[in-house]
Amino acid sequence: MTALLDIEGLTKAYPGVVANDDVSFSIQPGEVHALLGENGAGKSTLVKMIYGLVKPDRGAMRLGGAPYAPAEPRAARGAGVAMVFQHFSLFEALNVAENIALGMENPPKPRDLAARIREVSETYGLPLDPFRLVGDLSAGERQRVEIIRCLLQDPKLLIMDEPTSVLTPQEVEILFHTLRKLSAEGTAILYISHKLEEIRVLCDAATILRLGKKVGECTPRDVSAAHMAELMVGKTLSVPARDDHEPDEVLLEVRGLSVAPASPFGTPLRDVRFEVRAGEVLGIGGVAGNGQDELLAVLSGETPVVADAVTLEGKPVGALGPNERRALGLLCAPEERLGHAAAPDMSLTENALLTGRLRQGLDRRGFVDWGKTRGFAERVIDRFDVRTPGPGVAARALSGGNLQKFVIGREILQDPTVLVVNQPTWGVDASAAAAIRQALLDLAQNGAAVIVISQDLDELVEISDRFCALNEGRLSEPRPARGLGMEEIGLMLGGAHGMHEAAQ
């Protein structure tokens, strides 16, 4: 049997980094093939070359035995290669059918297309209304739009980039069911992930990348997750350590918090209530777009609310702005590093001033003490092992992991009473992620209250004392994290979104 896709010696270099170095592997028809690696291992660049978005510097590909070198995505689609992106390539202000038409070479008339969408979505158990605006859909439903867009073209190879990072465990089950059905029909799937258990459950073969190089391949069902992890990371990682302790007095309390969305496609917060105690880590899970950004904005003071809705050590702070809250000890680190937690074009020194001015006394009657600010930035860089030539470097010049260490470190060094972080390890390599988690645990150990908002359930189970979930702007009742099963967590996250439409 000839392989569906043969990749030989693909190499792609960017200035200063070799994204892919002489990578070779092949995919059989109907095979579910995992591409495994950490952030920055070169998975994205590799699939972009297969999909025609990036041209390799060296190497060759063969599709179904014939030479394959797509000049653009259109050519890849024409050859039977389809891709579901990690950050969706969707248009919020357009409806489902329009979004799907944009991804097709010769879309049928709108009415016929809508009928086809309904048909395919029923066949594969992925309910979807063709005339809803994509901006109104949940993350799981948006992914269905992308998948159906691909399926309508009868692809021979379907590329899926980290598809489960936005799904609840129940939605993951549905997705896997669809993928197995496709595989049984002869469609090959290239499945990109860093989640080992998923790969063991789903995939027939795996290729493992590290720092742009292929470091191994295996049959995932036959090897242990630990073995794959070692290949992927190149060393064994320590699990964050902490001592057991009793939580202390309540430091932050949120009551009856309801907020209307600020943007047309935002999520409202609906009667959110919780409390965090000294020495405790509260984990808030949830699929993307269920109110995480909105909740962080309320806690940071970017969205002021009524004073009583948020209290810090018994004081009402809901109506205060970000700096007034910082002065009282409530600190935050938002999800988006570039443009929210840090200004991309400003130096690390200037970014240190962004949140550090009040608590570190970096100005005198409004005049900035740049020397002192630089010193603060250097302390953050030093304490949190931020790899950079110096504090004069622009924030956007740092890698994701290093900038994240800077952003989290900037807040931790200010000795917060309560620290709120959103997606602290998103897009961060494993060793930096472990360092960040350990720093958060140490902070709680020293008596601060820590709120971790994250979509990474493994992370939350690992570091939280109590766990709750955001679902369509509602927060579930927090429960002790220890002993919580994935099934229960999945139900807290809202189970499978939008499945009621299956009845249509």
Partner: protein
């Protein structure tokens, strides 16, 4: 195939060198334009850029004019630059300039013929108030009704021009002017005159104010938290809110400052060089100041130099008109070209150009 690659840090050499190169390229392109108009390009460029400062015939008259023309340009551009840095686009400085002139002149004329030394300071305050008032319209509409400040501030220029026409032909008209439009001469009346401070230099109160504004802006932008917040808001609005910057307050502040400076510039002009309120005393300084602000890279020192350069093109342009019969609008097109080249060269500060063997997406 040429590809662009974003630089990790803006190139310092290009940030400084860009404007200089833009001036050179403008001279070349402008030379072509003059050649097309049938004048000797080398002579035209020499008359515009050299003669006003160094020719024996004209320098005595032209040199003081440099400060007279640069003063209002710098004063207005300094105000605009703070807003532009913050992403707040006040492009209606011309309107604020007119309102400042009308309010300041009206204040002075209300006390005519008194020659009290308190009148001129009062006029300055009234001019500032007029500019601020006019700038507050787009500011408050942006804050409370989320209306686009670019359009509102610009449309208000036409409203201001209508008001200027009615002032010059009606309620501020010189009662002893035998019915001609235009107010009394403010520059020749002791109480209302914006005097030349050092004889023969063109240095009047407005030029002094421009220099003070340059220094103050430099200090605020580099050392003060406010300057930091302005830069932050312009570069990363979301990070600015996270950093505790109140966007509404910033809009009001930036438009207020630029309105105040434009209003003051209008008053200094109408009580000095222009001498009176007339239908067309405004010669587009409010618009040219936009070029000055960009040419100076929104940096106070850069604006000081850019203002002087732009003033030079005005004076040189008048000279070229006189000597070579170059049409007046040629100089306006010339200034526009300068801005184009500058914007085009901005690319080099932020991106690196690489030659590639092969094209890609």
């Amino acid at each position: 195939m040429i590809a662009l690659e974003k630089r990790a840090q803006p190139s310092r050499a290009w940030v400084v060198g860009g404007p200089v190169l833009a001036v050179v390229l403008t001279m070349l392109a402008g030379g072509l334009m003059f050649a097309a108009l049938g004048t000797d390009p080398v002579e035209a460029i020499r008359i515009i850029f050299w003669d006003p400062l160094f020719s024996e015939r004209f320098a005595a008259y032209s040199r003081p004019q440099l400060l007279v023309k640069a003063g209002p340009l710098i004063l207005i551009a300094i105000g605009l630059s703070m807003g532009f840095k913050a992403g707040i686009w006040n492009i209606g400085a011309e309107g604020q300039y007119i309102l400042g002139a009308i309010c300041g002149a009206a204040f002075g004329l209300a006390f005519y013929p008194s020659e009290s030394p308190l009148i001129f300071p009062g006029m300055v305050l009234a001019g500032i108030a007029g500019g601020v008032l006019w700038a507050m319209i787009p500011a408050l509409l942006k804050v409370y009704a989320r209306t686009n400040e670019i359009l509102v501030s610009l449309l208000l220029v036409y409203v201001a021009e209508a008001m200027l026409a009615s002032a010059a032909t009606g309620w501020l008209r010189n009662p002893e002017g035998s019915g001609f439009p235009g107010s009394r001469n403010l520059a020749r009346h002791a109480g209302t005159a914006n005097l030349e401070l050092i004889a023969g230099t063109g240095m009047h109160w407005g030029v002094l104010a421009a220099f003070i504004a340059v220094i103050a802006a430099y200090v605020v932008m580099t050392r003060h938290v406010l300057g930091y917040q302005i830069r932050l808001a312009g570069q990363a609005p979301r990070a600015a809110r996270f950093g505790g910057v109140n966007p509404a307050r910033l809009v009001i502040l930036c438009l207020g400052v630029s309105g105040a400076l434009a209003g003051a510039a209008g008053l200094f002009e109408v009580s000095g060089p222009a001498a009176r309120i007339s239908i067309d005393f405004n010669v587009g300084y409010g618009f040219t100041a936009i070029i000055v602000a960009f040419l100076g890279r929104l940096n106070p020192i850069g604006i000081l130099l850019a203002g002087l350069l732009m003033a030079l093109t005005f004076i040189g342009g008048e000279l070229a008109q006189l000597m070579l019969g170059v049409p007046a609008p040629a100089i306006q097109a010339f200034q526009g070209m300068l801005l184009f080249f500058l914007l085009a060269l901005d690319l080099m500060a932020n991106y690196r150009i690489r030659l590639k063997r092969e094209g890609m997406a």
